[in-house]
Amino acid sequence: MRTRSSIAAIALMAALSMTIGAAVAFDDAKYPDLRGQWLRARAPLPNPGQGPFDPTKRGGRAQEAPLTPEYQKLFEASLADQAAGGQGGWQGGYCLPVGMPGMMTIFRPMEIIVLPETTYIRIDHIRDSNRRIYTDGRDWPKEPPLGYDGYSIGKWIDTDGDGKFDVLEVETRHFKGPRAFEPSGISLHEDNETVVKERIYLDKADRNLLHNEMTVIDNALTRPWTVHKKYSRDKAEFPVWPEDICPEGNGIVRIGVENYFLSGEGHLMPTRKGQEPPDLRYFKPAQK
């Protein structure tokens, strides 16, 4: 009787165990807690300019981007255009997305949602970008959709062997353009063959500090460009997520390849000295 009871008990426990295993589909205790609102940790730089790509240096020439001579020329032309009132190589002014890698400068707050098959990175800047980082073990697709955010495959790693993941390694490919690293207009190559690699992890001493070691491989560069970005978690219990609607109140009107400003009363204005008005050839001459 004792033997039968023991066997029955064991069978019951085995059944219970199987039930437990099946019912719990996602054990989020295995993943770092990345919930909440993440903001760009401001590097202590005087006058850094708008979100420089390398946060430890000022924007623009001070980035010392390892550009090829061809793309250094393009960058200089961008700076000259911006100095004269234009947008240069920066596409954000026309409400085109920043895309990767520049969006990870996080000009607006970021949210990270971790699920076993996909980690989502959401940043509402110019457009409500949703990066999908596929961690389901998939291969690179044969015919990937091209995008400003690219196509990302990631892998969670337990670097210290404690049974919990602590690093997310990501590779992103399959881009479209134009994309620039930052608002100064450092352009990525027009062939859009950029590859971006990231290692994302929480700081071990400060769980509200997130690191992103990012390396960009691009044909506009003479070598891979590696930067280290940091993000701080806002501790509000219910963070506010404002919508960023680029076309709303956008004072830049793009007609063909020319940019104009919109005056307060809704008329076109030049953006630079001596700029010609738009060609009105398709309007009836009598109405001028």
Binding site: S6, D28, G266
Partner: protein
């Protein structure tokens, strides 16, 4: 020895139960909403761009219960669209559709369920990400209005089988300009719209999702209820396309006027006899 084995088995089972408690997200409690959702096409006479009520033709055929004042506004909008303008439809200017129109699903939708929040990701015009807070929070005292609004939801186990099957949502704090659909059906200028939704899978067809939606708005004579149907497609690894409105946008807004951009990059009128933009700020020859 048998006694020790039994004790060992008991200890192991107990440990497994504790681990189960530690697992914060038991997603078997929630319906499987993974994958790519698209608008289920219902053939209606007249066709047209996805109307708010999918069972009726677009435009006047919607028979929207508008007040006389807002019916007039709607008619003026239709007249403007007939002459080449956009009327009340803000999508042509790359402004978001917002709620409730975003749930017409002009593009595919992904639903991401976590215990505290359910996300609706719809990349149309700008890539909307609705957050439906299911963490039991109260309505905040102060809410910044948005095109997608602020949504609080509750999961309900209607049939008592231990699994949620309905998500009830209320959305407030919606800003303007918004329209129900591309025909330009207007909302009240007071911005006090409330949208209620009940979303649930079809019990016999798990790739069919319903959204019973009710709009309460002061431009209406009564609450307006519609039922939307979505189909799950795309397979195990669906393709997600970015919709970047500004890219290839041929509509140029200058002040209150809309113009077209020609294939060779010049401004063109969008309406018959439309005058060119005022160039008073440019040096004239």
């Amino acid at each position: 020895m048998l006694g020790k084995s039994l004790l060992g088995a008991i200890a192991v089972t107990a440990a497994l139960w504790m681990a189960a408690d530690a697992a914060a997200a038991d997603d078997s409690k929630y319906p499987n909403l993974k994958g790519q959702w698209v608008r289920a096409r219902i053939p209606v006479p007249g066709g047209g761009q996805a109307p708010f009520d999918p069972t009726k033709p677009v435009g006047r055929g919607q028979q929207a219960p508008l007040t006389p004042e807002y019916q007039k506004i709607f008619e003026a909008n239709l007249a403007e669209q007939a002459t080449g303008g956009q009327g009340n439809w803000q999508g042509g200017r790359c402004l978001p559709v917002g709620m409730p129109g975003v749930m017409n699903l002009y593009r595919a939708m992904e639903i991401v369920v976590t215990p505290e929040t359910t996300y609706f990701l719809i990349d149309h015009i700008r890539g909307s990400s609705r957050r439906i807070y299911t963490d039991g929070r109260d309505w905040p005292k102060l809410i910044e209005p948005g095109f997608d609004g602020y949504s609080i939801g509750k999961w309900i186990d209607e049939d008592g089988d231990g699994k949620y099957d309905v998500l009830e949502i209320e959305t407030r704090a919606l800003r303007l300009p918004r329209a129900y659909d591309p025909s330009g059906l207007p909302f009240h200028a007071d911005g006090k719209t409330v949208v209620k939704e009940r979303m649930y899978l079809d019990k016999t067809k798990p790739d069919t999702l319903y959204n019973e939606m009710t709009v309460i708005d002061n431009a209406l004579t009564r609450p307006w209820s519609v039922k939307k149907t979505y189909s799950r497609e795309g397979g195990a690894q669906p393709t997600w396309i970015e919709d970047v409105c500004a890219e290839g946008q041929a509509l140029i807004t200058v002040g209150k006027e809309e113009y077209f951009l020609s294939g060779d990059g010049y401004l063109m009128p969008s309406k018959k006899d439309q005058g060119p933009p005022n160039l008073k700020y440019f040096r004239q020859p």
